[in-house]
């Protein structure tokens, strides 16, 4: 995060130092489990976490000295009669200095650029070699619908995934554009009507991870939260079986109810019409795009 304003100014200086310390306290990794971005639970979130830290550290390498120089300069060259510091009103150019401060940012951007490109490409590939699970996601007004094409079960605002296995979320929307975000597992991808988007996530440890819609969609937007429960593969499979056994089926009529703007709680469905997901994509313009899962 870099250093805050450290200007030399008596009492308010102390105040600012206090505030800075205060903010830093909240930022220290691990000091609270609520800093979900600093507590990645899978390889995707881990890559993104490292990228965030790298950019911050490299920016701080420039920012902190700049602020230090500023404090020093303002202190040393104040316009006071007794100030003995040199005064060179016509000195306005230095090739060497110019080369240095064009050079430093170029160098830093070059380093960051390399890592950024590397990570950007790597994030489009599955995070591990395990056989992946596919889950289709539809954002609605104002709820999240999940389909498991491999086992034909469906859920609302609740999704279970096996740990240690890459999960390919295939996302679309049957409502205004939203964004699918599970901070502890990895970053977002927009859900858009008629488009199929792909997002690889993986949980390496069991747990309950909060997910949310991150792109504004109107009145009920603030309530578009869902839970991601990661558990070992065997438990996950047992859960799928229990849903198939005990939950009601999702019919087209029921889905048409769900599409209407409303806020929903967790729901489970033992089956859904097999063409439902494809129909959702196509009715909103899916025919204009070639879609491809599993790269």
């Amino acid at each position: 995060m870099g250093v805050r304003n450290l200007k030399k100014t008596g009492v308010s200086d102390k105040l600012k130092k206090f505030l800075f310390g205060f903010v830093l306290l909240f930022l220290l990794p691990g000091c609270s489990d609520r800093f979900v971005l600093l507590d990645p639970a899978g390889p995707v979130a881990q890559t993104e976490y490292r990228n965030i830290m790298l950019t911050m550290v490299l920016s701080a390498i420039v920012a902190i000295p700049v602020l230090a120089i500023m404090v020093y300069v303002v202190y040393r060259y104040r316009d006071r009669p007794e100030n003995q510091a040199p005064y060179t009103p016509n000195w306005d150019d230095s090739k060497i200095l110019e080369v240095i401060w064009w050079g430093i940012p170029i160098l830093i951007v070059a380093i960051l650029g390399v890592y950024t490109v590397r990570d950007t490409f790597s994030l489009t590939r599955p995070p591990s070699d395990q056989k992946p699970v596919t889950i289709q996601v539809v954002s609605l007004d104002w709820k999240w619908m999940f389909f498991y094409p491999e086992s034909n079960i469906s859920t609302v605002n609740y999704v279970e995934i096996p740990t240690g296995v890459p999960v390919q979320f295939v996302l679309t929307a049957d409502a205004p554009m939203n964004s699918f975000w599970v901070p502890q597992l990895g970053g977002q991808v927009y859900t858009m009507p008629g488009m199929e988007m792909y997002l690889w996530l993986q949980a390496d440890r069991s747990g309950v991870y909060e997910g949310k819609g991150a792109n504004f969609t109107g009145k009920g937007f603030a309530h578009m939260n869902f839970q991601v429960v990661a558990k070992p593969k065997s438990e996950f499979e047992a859960w799928v079986k229990s849903v198939k056994r005990s939950a009601p089926p999702l019919t087209n009529e029921k889905y048409n109810q769900l599409v209407k703007p409303s806020i929903a709680n967790k729901q489970l469905y033992s089956s859904y019409p097999t063409s439902l997901y494809k129909d959702i994509v196509n009715k909103n313009g899916g025919m204009y795009y070639t879609h491809h899962g599993h790269h």
Binding site: M195, E196, M287, Y288, Y289, T290, H291, H292
Partner: protein, 121 residues
């Protein structure tokens, strides 16, 4: 454009015809315009012929069509809009060049961004 022309108009309107033109092309037959017109008609016909009877692959044809269009635009800019003429710094040329750069950025950029995983044809 037409900067040198201005100096003649504004240095006293009545002296216009008697004053020596700054370059010969302003008097007599408008060769530049005729050449530009012929060129643009020719380019249009060639483009149409290529589009109707494509002699090879579509991608290649589209590239050629775009090249022909750029030539046409250059004809308009040079023979009719006289973009190359100016006295003093050619700020207007700079502006138009920037305009074309950003035009390219908007069109090519949008296609690159928006047609990812979309059906182009």
């Amino acid at each position: 454009m037409g900067d040198d022309f201005y100096s003649r108009v504004s240095d006293g309107g009545d002296g216009m015809k008697t004053k020596e033109p700054l370059s010969g092309k302003y008097t007599g037959f408008p060769w530049g315009h005729v050449i530009g017109y012929m060129g643009s008609i020719l380019l249009t016909l060639v483009a149409l012929w290529l589009a109707v009877n494509p002699p090879f692959s579509q991608g290649g044809i589209i590239t050629i069509l775009l090249v022909l269009a750029v030539l046409q635009i250059l004809i308009q800019l040079i023979f009719f809009m006289h973009i190359t003429e100016s006295r003093g710094p050619a700020f207007h040329t700079l502006a138009i060049v920037l305009g074309f750069l950003f035009t390219f950025a908007v069109v090519a950029g949008s296609i690159w961004i928006m047609t990812f995983n979309s059906q182009v044809q």
